[in-house]
């Protein structure tokens, strides 16, 4: 049985961007939020260290400095009009969160307390600045809870544990989505004037990742399969401090409070690479320095990991705490309770007495569904829009993070662009009609899901997923070369072919997560192709995209955004490998001319 719904606006995903958009759009329109998880399970909740805004509660700060850091942090691939909006709007967006009830930590005079974070500086790169507004080390959790609480207050309509499997997209017009009610297995057609994608990232294509199991980019793959472009997919951030082997994130806040990187020789090696910001250099740079340390044999015990050291004695020895102050174990436990607990639980390490084994972990997609500054999705690099389709948050590429996102800016992005997207959507639906639905819009995707459910074959999804994650981690990771990326592309091609022969165990209708996991794998395979093909194409090194065979940034040829699209016939299954075309969009430069990126 297929169910039908009609809403002015549909939001896909209930993390920070989706809920912020919902709060703003639902003030003026009939809105429903669809999420494959309960909203409070969304990955925004795992963000730890803070959300940046130049409130200047601790010391002098200006939004222009925040904008500059964002542009430089993104290795000048940032669209500067978008970064200006981010840095300016961050201030009143954080105030709005406080007014909604968010329990920020407080300064002695009762204002929102702030801390240092990687790449955030005073006076255009002179020294670290305290800009990250925080609630201990569970800032993302508090943002997600606060937004969800306000959605309850505002009586926002939710469809929890509904899995969006397809977009209804016809002749450049988005008319809604198709979703499966996970509990019943039944399908629902959501007819909408406007649809906003806020489904987050897709880091599960990599073996070691901080991303939740659910971050598989399903709506992004749906857009891809229907021929919409994806922007800057080659830029994927590897966060330097993942728990060794597990990839669980240990926030940059640990270094903001004075923690340092240490190699096998006991050396604070970041001093050598980045003399000004040292351990608080941006993430792409720290991850590359770690990789080089390991390559030169200075990994711990000669292995592929290093140490994060937050022992008070080390912080005090290096005078690396804010202002060179002396810190105690008690203070660190108060400022970093969750990550200290994670070190204890998952590694059995006592971080006040010993250093913690870490390695880079796949963390954040700078690329995604291209949008303008109001969340409207672009159909082409020329700027032509998809009618009725919006995107915000990690799923979107505005591009405000360029080639490398600064820490805390993802949360800023969620609230600033979630809000803008929500408002733009509410405005849009006022003047729009429901575009007529095609006949049986659910038929094609249901038949693909039925194929996966019932098919007999020799392949297991888990095996294909492991092979994909391994080849992407090893070859499209912190460093890349043409040969490596080609290895990944060849493997993904093989895996896409094998995916057609996957057999699952669960043939039932209700809560069939065996089926949905297989479907998610197909989505990841498409996004892995888009990522690898974009990486192969960009013959320079910029931000998170480090090519060992093209080590320099090449502004003459590459100061532009990649737009990759699938060019074959619309499909519901993983797309035919290599049927892609690449186009470019110029970078918007306003205040800051590209310069060499030193810290």
């Amino acid at each position: 049985m297929v169910h039908h719904h009609k809403f002015d606006a549909i939001i896909v995903g209930a993390g920070g961007a989706g809920l912020m958009a919902a709060l703003h759009a639902s003030k003026a329109a009939d809105v429903a939020v669809i999420s494959k998880l309960y909203p409070t399970r969304s990955h925004t909740g795992t963000a730890q260290g803070g959300i940046a805004a130049a409130l200047a509660n601790m010391e002098e700060d200006h939004w222009e400095w925040h904008m500059y850091d964002t542009v430089k942090g993104g290795d000048y691939l940032v669209d500067q009009d978008a970064a200006e909006i981010l840095a300016r709007d961050a201030i009143d967006a954080i105030i709005e969160l406080e007014h909604m009830g968010l329990p920020f930590d407080r300064t002695p005079d009762g204002r929102i307390e702030q801390r240092r974070f990687g790449g955030h500086t005073a006076d255009y790169g002179k020294r670290p600045v305290m800009r990250a507004c925080k609630s201990a080390d569970r800032t993302g959790h508090m943002i997600l809870q606060t937004l969800f609480q306000n959605c309850i207050k505002q009586k926002v309509k939710f469809f929890d544990e509904f899995f969006v499997v397809d977009l209804i997209l016809e002749h450049g017009v988005c008319k809604g989505v198709i979703a499966q009610d996970i509990n019943t297995g039944e399908y629902h057609v959501f007819h909408a004037k406007a649809t906003l994608l806020a489904s987050g990232g897709f880091g599960r294509m990599f073996k070691v990742t901080s991303n939740a199991h659910s971050l598989t980019g399903d709506p992004v793959a749906a857009a891809w399969r229907r021929g919409l472009p994806l922007e800057d997919m080659e830029f994927f951030q590897f966060h330097p401090t993942g728990i060794y082997k597990m990839g669980i994130l240990l926030s940059e806040a640990a270094r903001g409070e004075g923690g340092v990187f240490i190699n096998d020789k006991g050396e604070r090696f970041m001093e050598r690479y980045m003399p000004t910001l040292k351990d608080l250099a941006p993430r792409d740079i720290c991850s590359r320095c770690m990789y080089l340390e390991v390559k030169e044999g200075r990994g711990i015990g000669g292995k592929d990991y290093l140490y994060l050291d937050i022992r008070p004695e080390s912080i005090n020895k290096y005078k690396s705490a804010p202002g060179g102050k002396t810190v105690t174990a008690h203070e660190l436990e108060q400022k970093l309770p969750d990550i200290i607990e994670m070190m204890r639980v998952y590694q059995g390490v006592e971080p006040m007495k010993e250093p913690v084994p870490i390695q880079p972990t796949a963390h954040y997609a700078m690329g995604g569904v291209p949008t303008d500054n109001d969340g409207r999705v672009l159909a082409e690099a020329s700027g032509k829009l998809v009618h009725g389709l919006f995107a915000a948050g990690e799923v979107a590429c505005v591009s405000v993070h360029g080639a490398n996102r600064l820490g805390t800016n993802s949360l800023v992005d969620l609230v600033v662009y979630g809000r803008r997207g929500g408002r733009a959507m509410a405005e849009f639906v006022k003047g729009a009609d429901y575009a007529p639905l095609p006949k049986d819009p659910e038929a094609a995707i249901i038949s693909e899901l039925e194929r996966i459910r019932t098919q007999k074959g020799s392949e297991k999804a888990v095996k294909i997923r492991n092979e994909m994650q391994e080849v992407m981690m090893d070859n499209v990771g912190v460093f890349r070369t043409e040969a490596m990326i080609q290895t990944a592309i060849n493997k993904v091609k093989e895996l896409k072919e094998r995916f057609c022969r996957v057999q699952i165990d669960d043939k039932g209708q209700r809560f069939n997560t065996d089926l949905l996991e297989a479907f998610e794998l197909g989505c990841l395979l498409d996004l892995a192709e888009a990522t690898a093909a974009s990486a192969l194409n960009r013959t320079e090194s910029r931000g998170a995209h480090a090519r060992d065979d093209f080590q320099q940034r090449d502004d003459a040829n590459w100061l532009k955004h990649t737009f990759i699209r699938y060019t074959g016939a619309e499909t519901m299954e993983p797309t035919r490998m290599g049927a892609t075309a690449i186009d470019y969009k110029p970078v918007t430069i306003t205040r800051f001319q590209p310069q060499e990126r030193k810290y």
Partner: protein, 238 residues
């Protein structure tokens, strides 16, 4: 290490009632219980159904009964729950309707959550300077415990009073109410206390302490419930 994992299984489409199934597995002592469940799902039987997402104790998806105690499967390590050659027992949460295998219907839980108005109420004009409301560090600290709650339901579904009567609002909802009652920016304490003073409110709590032991976020749940009782009895919020 090798051991047996015994999981309570239930398929609503084929089974009349739940039953246990056992699987011989091998795991690293520092693997999570969630990793073991994934091993079963991915290598033994793909029909095993559970909720999980972040896998490191923040999203609250994978609360379940592990060796008879509520916990997050992603926050317990194998070495702490089973010995070589032993048996690890996994069951769904108690007190909520069973849907399939380890999945229960969370809707009654969230219904209780919504009943305590879990949001800041403050209709006073916002600060004229366009900035944050001021709050002292001490006032912020007063309700800190409750802000850690991830709504995993481990506490509520470990509570004998909740098992006895599912209309009891339960520890998690009281923790959420506490978080706002004791926030000096909030003005709806009275309404919340009224809900919690009713028949299915805080007085159903018999201080069994199961909730405090079950909480994966180390929230002193019983203490917070006690503070709400105190506020109801004395009419003062301190």
């Amino acid at each position: 290490m090798k051991f047996t994992v015994k999981i309570k299984r239930y398929n609503p489409e084929t089974d009349a009632r739940p039953h246990f199934e056992s699987y011989a597995v091998e795991a690293d002592p520092i693997d999570r219980v969630l990793d073991v469940l994934h091993t079963v799902k991915w290598h033994h039987d793909g029909t095993l159904t559970l909720r999980r997402s972040c896998a490191h104790g923040i999203c609250g998806s994978d609360a379940m009964r592990i060796n008879g105690r509520n916990a997050l499967a992603c926050k317990l390590l194998v070495r702490d729950v089973v010995k070589e050659g032993g048996t690890l027992q996994i069951e769904p949460l108690l007190g909520l309707p069973l849907i399939k295998d380890l999945i229960v219907d969370m809707e009654p839980f969230f219904e209780h959550y919504r009943s305590v108005s879990p949001f800041l109420v403050n209709d006073e004009p916002l600060p004229e300077d366009g900035r944050e409301r001021l709050q002292s560090s001490e006032a912020r600290e007063r309700f800190d415990h409750g802000t850690k709650c991830i709504l995993c339901a481990a506490c509520t579904t470990s509570c004998p009073s909740f098992w006895a009567n599912g209309q009891y609002v339960g520890p998690a909802a009281i923790v959420q109410a506490h978080r706002f009652i004791f926030d000096d920016r909030d003005h709806a304490a009275e309404e919340r206390l009224q809900v919690l003073g009713e028949q299915f409110g805080v007085w159903r709590c018999r201080t069994a302490f199961n909730c405090t032991e079950a909480c994966p976020r180390e929230i002193p749940v019983t203490q917070l419930i006690g503070e709400v009782k105190q506020a109801l009895a004395s009419g003062k919020i301190e």
